[in-house]
């Protein structure tokens, strides 16, 4: 055997060995990236569970493995400042009662809560020239969005969520916050219409804050979230339809410097009810658990 032939054999042998070692080292993670977290069997089991408990799923389910972090947020003071500056420039008078500050100019009053929630009330309600009560949803949205833009009340990253009609006949347009393509359901904008008038605008906007430590963790799957949802709520007496299951971030409103918010699966029902399942713990997110002084 000559040296050239020996070299070739060795190259082939070592190339094979390297392939084997590379496969052993990297396959688990490679597999995780391409892995489908939700199998067809899981979906069948979920369907059965929902059916047994009087729920119907009419939403698509994300089947990939997903991760999340605790997102650190604070109240968006920049947006608050922008709203209030405009009011002051218009000549608004302000007063305070401890928990809230009031800015009043003619028929417009802005109430700023210590949590950062801003509520702009129009008294009497603002009456547009057009009869918006007869508008279709798309037309109404366009009109309202132009109006809040004009009023400089539209925060950056507001995405239309849904239109709610209350028992009293009021129409409420709901928007939620999106930051870096990530829904933050805790941040919201609500425009309330009464008849053909605009009654109020409510804004609670958050600002993601750079965090020193980010703990990336795998989140539970959408079927797991739905199973927990059924476990926590129990069987429904009336048939209920689930229209959307989306991963995003949610928490209560806090009068705090900054706070972490967990990833959640947002479950929307056809009747307008919205539930949030913590995507790390699988628990239903309810009223914030903040220790209170003991009785």
């Amino acid at each position: 055997m000559n040296l050239e032939r020996a070299k070739l054999i060795l190259i082939i042998a070592f190339a094979g060995l390297n392939l084997f070692l590379g496969y052993q080292l990297f396959w688990p993670d490679f597999g995780r990236l391409t892995q489908v977290a939700v199998s067809t069997e899981d979906l069948q089991l979920l369907d059965e569970l929902l059916e047994d408990n009087n729920y119907t799923l009419e939403a698509s389910i994300d089947r990939s493995v997903q991760t999340g972090i605790f997102m650190t947020v604070s109240t968006s003071l920049e947006f608050q400042r922008q709203v209030l500056l405009k009011l002051l420039q218009e000549g608004a008078q302000f007063s305070s009662n401890g928990d809230a500050t009031f800015y009043k100019k003619d028929d417009k009053t802005a109430i700023v809560q210590s949590t950062g929630l801003i509520r702009v009330l129009y008294t009497p309600p603002f009456e547009p020239a057009e009869n918006i009560a007869e508008f279709e949803e798309r037309e109404l949205r366009t009109y309202v969005e132009n109006f809040i833009d004009d009023q400089q009340l539209m925060p950056e990253g507001a995405v239309f969520d849904y239109l709610e009609t209350t028992e009293g006949g009021e129409k409420i347009l709901h928007y939620y916050q999106v930051s870096d393509s990530c829904p933050i359901f805790a941040g919201h904008l609500k425009v309330t219409l009464e008849g053909h008038s605009i009654k109020s605008v409510e804004i609670y906007w958050l600002k993601p804050v750079e965090s020193e430590i980010t703990r990336e963790m795998e989140v539970i799957t959408a079927p797991q979230a739905l199973s927990n949802f059924v476990r926590d709520l129990g069987s429904s007496a009336e048939p209920r339809t689930i229209t959307s299951v989306t991963l995003g971030y949610f928490s209560g409103e806090y009068d705090a410097e900054k706070w972490e918010i967990p990833p959640v699966w947002r479950i929307v029902l056809q009747d307008g009810q919205i539930y949030y399942i913590n995507a790390f713990t699988g628990n239903l997110e309810q009223e914030s658990v903040v220790p209170e002084q003991l009785p």
């Binding site: 390297n18 070692l21 590379g22 009068d255 705090a256 967990p262 713990t281 220790p291 209170e292 002084q293």
Partner: protein, 447 residues
């Protein structure tokens, strides 16, 4: 040329295979996608045996003209309790004729008062042959040449009498002789006929109250922050520490919550709450509740110096029954009144609420600002006036449930101190009055 390239490729392949083998052999860390193992071992203070942490609230030694009041601040108190504690743990000896001992109150040398009561039976170290009873008073009585221990509950439904061994008797008499030799503040037992308010209302006394015969001399005390390891403390409340998110309050406090339970930590206190566990029952006995409350303090922060169990009661309603244990910090023998005292609520499902102040008296805590306290009758009169202002029109007798000198915890900037006060509790309403001027201290403004 081709041969050179082949050689280079071969060398690269050899080295890369060595590198990959090393990586595989010594374990390359996979991308961290799942929370690290959270069930790590947390080293907390070992629960102390019940006999080490359970103390009488106070003791009175009968002397001419009144009583000496002893509590944890006195060395003699610890010694007396140590000997009686041991006697109560020994098998019972022959019971003497009760009537001889009970009939003569004059022969009472000292009385130990238990708040909460001392449980008896096989589950606890004391009086193992008397299961299921609770002792509120233990009297040490001398009759002829013998010394007897008389343990009884307040309703006198239970009484145990035993003869103290000769060795213990001698030791106890020696301690008492030391106490008699030293001058101490004299106390008296308050009787209902001793006080009538300026509005003409008399007293009702549900419990024995001992008050100083003369005004006492007290000083402000200095308090220091407890040096707590927040990470360890956090891990004792959250099994999965990674799933707790943080809320940073504007005042610098931190709230940790996993959506089910929450813990608020400030520089001066901690408060924990797990409301989902509220709906439960308690199936354990009073003695077990006592052990549990002791364990909970050990697990969640340990025992600060001077902390004493003040009460242990059952609380709640039909489907949400729990035990409420309350502790009080003591300094120089006086209790400290704080905004967030140490409290624990627990049931069969676990810990529901926990709160605790995170400071304790400094080693050299006596300042130079001595004050002379107001007379007990002046303090009581001042408290009655506030009570009558708060609840005008009530004309029943005054149910005086507690009255003693104490410290109210306050702060000046970041410095914490205990200010001498009179604590008066009338018909469930409590009042803190500055010990010298008797001006009211707002309990909500305490630290």
């Amino acid at each position: 040329m081709v041969e050179k390239i082949k050689s280079i490729i071969l060398i690269i392949l050899v080295f890369s295979s060595l590198f990959l083998t090393y990586q595989l052999w010594y374990g390359q860390q996979p991308a961290e996608l799942i929370a690290e193992d959270v069930y790590e071992r947390i080293i907390v203070e070992k629960p102390r045996p019940l006999e080490e942490v359970f103390y009488p609230a106070y003791a009175t030694v009968t002397v001419e003209g009144g009583y000496y009041l002893l509590n944890e601040a006195d060395q003699e108190f610890a010694k007396i309790w140590s000997h009686i504690n041991q006697s109560l743990q020994l098998p019972l000896n022959d019971l003497p004729d009760e009537s001889d001992v009970i009939s003569d109150e004059n022969v009472t040398l000292l009385t130990l008062y238990f708040r909460p009561g001392l449980p008896t039976g096989a589950e606890v170290p004391w009086l193992k042959d008397y299961p299921g009873n609770i002792v509120y008073e233990i009297k040490l009585k001398q009759h002829n040449s013998e010394i007897f221990l008389v343990a009884e509950n307040s309703a006198e439904e239970f009484r145990h009498i035993s003869v103290v061994s000769d060795r213990t008797k001698n030791l106890l008499l020696e301690i008492l002789a030391n106490i008699y030799e030293n001058d101490r503040d004299l106390y008296f037992l308050l009787r209902e006929d001793m006080f009538y308010s300026s509005s003409g209302r008399g007293l009702n006394l549900p419990v024995p109250l001992f008050l100083p015969l003369k005004p006492a001399v007290m000083t402000k005390i200095v308090l220091v922050n407890e040096d707590t390891d927040r990470d360890i403390l956090l891990k004792t409340f959250f099994v999965d520490y990674n799933l707790a998110r943080v809320i940073e309050e504007k005042d610098g406090g931190l709230i940790y919550t996993d959506g089910e339970k929450g813990l608020r930590l400030t520089s001066e206190s901690l408060e924990y709450s797990n409301p989902r566990l509220e709906e439960s029952r308690v199936t354990f006995t009073y003695a077990d509740a006592l052990k549990n409350s002791n364990n909970l303090i050990s697990y969640h922060g340990g025992w600060p110096e001077g902390l004493q169990l003040e009460s242990l009661t059952s609380t709640g309603w039909v489907n949400a029954v729990s035990y409420l244990a309350q502790w009080r910090m003591f300094a120089n023998g006086y209790p400290l009144y704080t905004l967030i005292p140490t409290k624990v609520i627990f049931n069969d499902r676990g810990l529901v609420h926990y709160s605790r102040s995170l400071y304790f008296p400094a080693d050299s805590n006596v300042s130079n600002d001595e004050i002379i306290t107001a007379e007990w009758s002046e303090a009581l009169e001042a408290a009655v006036k506030i009570y009558e202002q708060d609840l005008p029109g009530l004309r029943t007798s005054l149910r005086l449930e507690a009255m003693h000198l104490a410290y109210a915890v306050n702060a000046s900037g970041t410095d914490y101190y205990g200010e001498p006060v009179w604590y008066v509790q009338i018909s469930g309403k409590s009042y803190l009055l500055k010990a010298d001027t008797l001006t009211r201290v707002n309990e909500e403004a305490l630290k």
